[in-house]
Assembly symmetry: C2
Homo-oligomer: 384 residues x 2
C-alpha cells in the first residue's frame, strides 16, 4: 500500500450561510483547496454529507457537487453515516490513493442545515438514532446523551461544573479560530446557567449545527511536493462500528468503536497515543468529548473533568485538544465535521494555525463519530 | 493491487414484500450469502441503498443493517448514488480488497420501496433528478427519458415497436428467473397497448420499482477456494460520471459515463468487449437499455431495435443481454439493482442459472447507472 498525503486543503467559516446554497458552499471550499494544490487533475471524489436529501430533496448529490466545480466525468460518490460522514469520506479517499487505484482524490464534507426550518432540522437530527425502538418511544439524540451523562456523573462522582469547564475550554480555543461558528469566550457561570435541553444536558453541553464545507486533496506521499511545499501525511487510518441502538450496549460509558478504530489507526501509523501532540475529538456533546478522551487512552477514565480543570487539554497544556474549538464552539456542520478536523489539524502541522498555533505540532489524531459512536473513524496525521 | 473474487452470494426475489422490513430483507440475503461462503469473518461492509432515509426515517442505515446480522464492530458504510448505489458499493468493496486494506468484505444492496405510499414513492423517485432547474420546472425522470426516447426515434427513424420488442425480450428472460418481479412473458401488442406515462414512454417502457436485497462476499482471489468451490473473479472495474442535469449534456443520445466506465473496466481486465459472453445492462427504461448496448460498443448506434428483432440479445443469440430479465422484468429495487446484477452474473458463470443458463458463460459485463447515467459503474466478471 502506498503512503498518502494531504496536498491541498480549505474550509469555509462555519455558521448560518442563508445566502449560499449547498453547491455554492461546496464549490467555495473545494475550488480553494484545489487552488492550494496548484489545480491538479482529480481522479475521483468522495463526499461526506448527512442531510441534503432532506434539506434540498436532491439524491445523488455527489454528482451535483462535482458538476458545481466543473468536474463532470470522474467518479464522485456520496457516503452517509450521520455526523460521521466526513471521516468516512476521508477514509474512502485514503483507501483509494493508498491502493494505487487513484492518484489524486478530492475529499469533501458539506452540510447545509439552514435550508430547513428549526422544526424540520429537529426531525432530521432525530433520524440519526435508531428508529424502530428508541426514536419510536420518544428518545432523541439529546436524550441518549443525557442518559450517558447522568450515568457518568453518578458513576464517577463528577459534577455538572466539570462539563461546563469543558465547554469553557472549547470556547476559549474557538475564540482564536476565525472559521469557528461561536468564536467567543464564555464563563463557567454562563455554561451552568444555560437552559436545560434534556436534564442534565444544557444548551452549552451541545454542539451547534450549522452550514459548512471543507475539502482536502489527497495524493501519494512521494508525489506530494509536486503540489505543495507543506504536505501532511495520513500516517494511519482506522474505522470501526458499534450498535446503532443505545439499549444494545453493555456499557454506555465507553464507545467501543472509538477504542477499536484508534487501535487500528495507531497500529497502522506505528505510533503510540503518547506520540501524538494534539487531538481533534468528536465532542457533539460535552459528555461525548469526555468519552472520546478516555476511549482514545488520552486521559484516565472518570478523570477528564479534573484534567480540564487543571488545564491539561488547553492549547498551552500537555494534551492540547480541539484547538479548533471542537464541535462545541467551532460548530458542527454534521457530515462535514470530519473533514474540518482534517483541515484544521493539517494547518496546525503546517504551522499555519494562526493564534492557536502550538509547538511542537508534529503528529495529530482526529476522531469523528456517528451519533453515539455507531461508526467511528480515526486518522493520524503527520508533518512530513 | 490484489486480484479479487466473489466467494459467496445470495439474493431475495424482487417484489412487494409488505411483510418484511428493510433489515429483514437485508438479513435474509446477507446471512444466506455468508453461509454460501462458509460464514467467514467479515472485515468491512459496503451498502448500496437509495431511499431508506425517506422510507424509514433512518439515517446511518449501514450501522442498523450490520447490527441486524450480528456484525457489530466492523466498518459499515452506506453509499448513495440513486439507482447506481449498488454498483458503487460493489466498486468500493472491490477497492477495499484489491488494495489489501481488507480481506473479506460484504457488499450488500437493499431497497424497501413498499414502506411508503405510491405518492411518497413518486416524490422519492423524483429526487434522483436535478432539483434546482429540472425538477423545479416540472421535469420528472419519466420525462427525461421521454425526451431522450423521442429524440432517438426521430434521429434513427426507429418506431415504438422496437422498444416494445425490447420489453418482450426482457419478459421472456424473466420468465426463466425465479427471483424476478415480473416472471411472465408478454406480447408486442401488450407492450404497445400499455398506457402512456410520458409520451412516448409507456408503462412497459419503464422498470417496476420493488423491494429487494442482494449480497456478495468478496475476498482475495488466491484465498477464494478456502470459501467456495466456484469462485468468480472481478477481473475489471470502472466508474465514471456525467452531469446530473440533462440540459447540461451536449448529446443526449449517449451516456458518456457508460463509455468511460466500460473503457476503464475493460482495460483493467485486459479484455475486449468482443470477449464478453453476456451482459447485464441498466435498462431502467427501454431507451436506457438501448443506449447502454450502444455506449458499451455491443451494438452499432441506432441498430439496437433491429438487433432485438433479429434475436441477437436473446439467451440463444450471440449477444445474450439481461438474462435475469433486466430492470424491466427482473425488477428494479433501486439501490440494490447493481448488486443483483453481480449475483445473477456470478450464478451464470458458475453454471447455476437454472432455466436461463447459457453456454459458454466465461466472462460477463455488468453495467449499473444512476438516473440518466450521472454515475455509472461497470464490472467485468470472469469464471476462474
Amino acid at each position: 500500500m502506498r503512503r498518502v498525503a494531504i496536498c491541498g486543503l480549505s474550509m469555509c467559516k462555519v455558521g448560518n450561510h442563508y445566502n449560499k446554497s449547498l453547491r455554492e458552499l461546496f464549490a467555495e471550499a473545494t475550488l480553494d483547496a484545489l487552488e492550494s494544490a496548484g489545480n491538479p487533475c482529480i481522479d475521483a471524489m468522495y463526499i461526506g454529507n448527512m442531510s441534503a436529501s432532506e434539506q434540498t430533496y436532491q439524491k445523488n448529490i455527489a454528482s451535483l457537487l462535482s458538476n458545481s466545480i466543473g468536474l463532470n466525468s470522474k467518479p464522485s460518490i456520496l457516503l452517509e453515516c450521520a455526523d460521521g460522514s466526513g471521516g468516512a469520506a476521508l477514509y474512502e479517499g485514503y483507501k483509494a490513493v493508498s491502493s494505487g487505484l487513484h492518484d489524486i482524490v478530492l475529499v469533501g464534507g458539506v452540510e447545509k442545515m439552514s435550508e430547513a426550518t428549526r422544526g424540520e432540522n429537529r426531525k432530521i437530527g432525530s433520524m440519526i438514532i435508531e428508529q424502530e425502538c428508541e426514536a419510536f418511544h420518544g428518545l432523541s439524540l439529546d436524550g441518549q446523551f443525557a442518559l450517558i451523562m447522568r450515568y457518568y456523573m453518578h458513576h464517577y462522582n463528577v459534577s455538572k461544573r466539570h462539563f461546563a469547564l469543558f465547554a469553557v475550554q472549547m470556547h476559549k480555543h474557538a475564540a482564536g479560530n476565525r472559521y469557528a461558528h461561536l468564536p467567543y469566550e464564555i464563563s463557567v457561570e454562563d455554561a451552568l446557567n444555560m437552559q436545560t435541553i434534556a436534564d442534565p444536558v444544557t444548551l452549552f453541553d451541545t454542539a451547534p449545527t450549522g452550514d459548512g464545507a471543507a475539502a482536502v486533496i489527497l495524493c501519494p506521499l512521494e508525489k506530494a511536493r509536486e503540489f505543495t511545499e507543506n504536505p501532511v501525511e495520513i500516517a494511519g487510518a482506522g474505522q470501526a462500528s458499534d450498535t446503532l441502538a443505545l439499549y444494545d450496549r453493555k456499557n454506555i460509558l465507553t464507545f467501543r468503536a472509538t477504542v477499536e478504530a484508534s487501535k487500528i489507526a495507531l497500529e497502522s501509523s506505528k505510533l503510540k497515543i503518547s506520540d501524538i501532540n494534539f487531538f481533534e475529538v468528536h465532542d457533539s456533546y460535552t459528555i461525548s468529548g469526555f468519552l472520546a478522551l478516555e476511549d482514545l487512552g488520552i486521559i484516565e477514565r472518570g478523570k477528564v473533568g479534573h484534567a480540564v480543570e487543571e488545564g491539561l487539554i488547553d492549547l498551552n497544556g500537555p494534551l492540547p485538544t480541539n484547538l479548533s474549538g471542537g464541535l462545541k464552539a467551532r460548530g458542527h456542520p454534521m457530515g462535514a465535521t470530519g473533514v474540518y478536523q482534517a483541515v484544521e489539524s493539517a494547518l496546525q502541522l503546517q504551522g499555519q494555525a494562526g493564534k492557536n498555533q502550538i509547538d511542537p505540532a508534529e503528529v495529530a489524531l482526529i476522531h469523528n463519530a456517528a451519533g453515539i459512536g455507531s461508526i467511528v473513524t480515526v486518522h493520524v496525521l503527520k508533518r512530513v
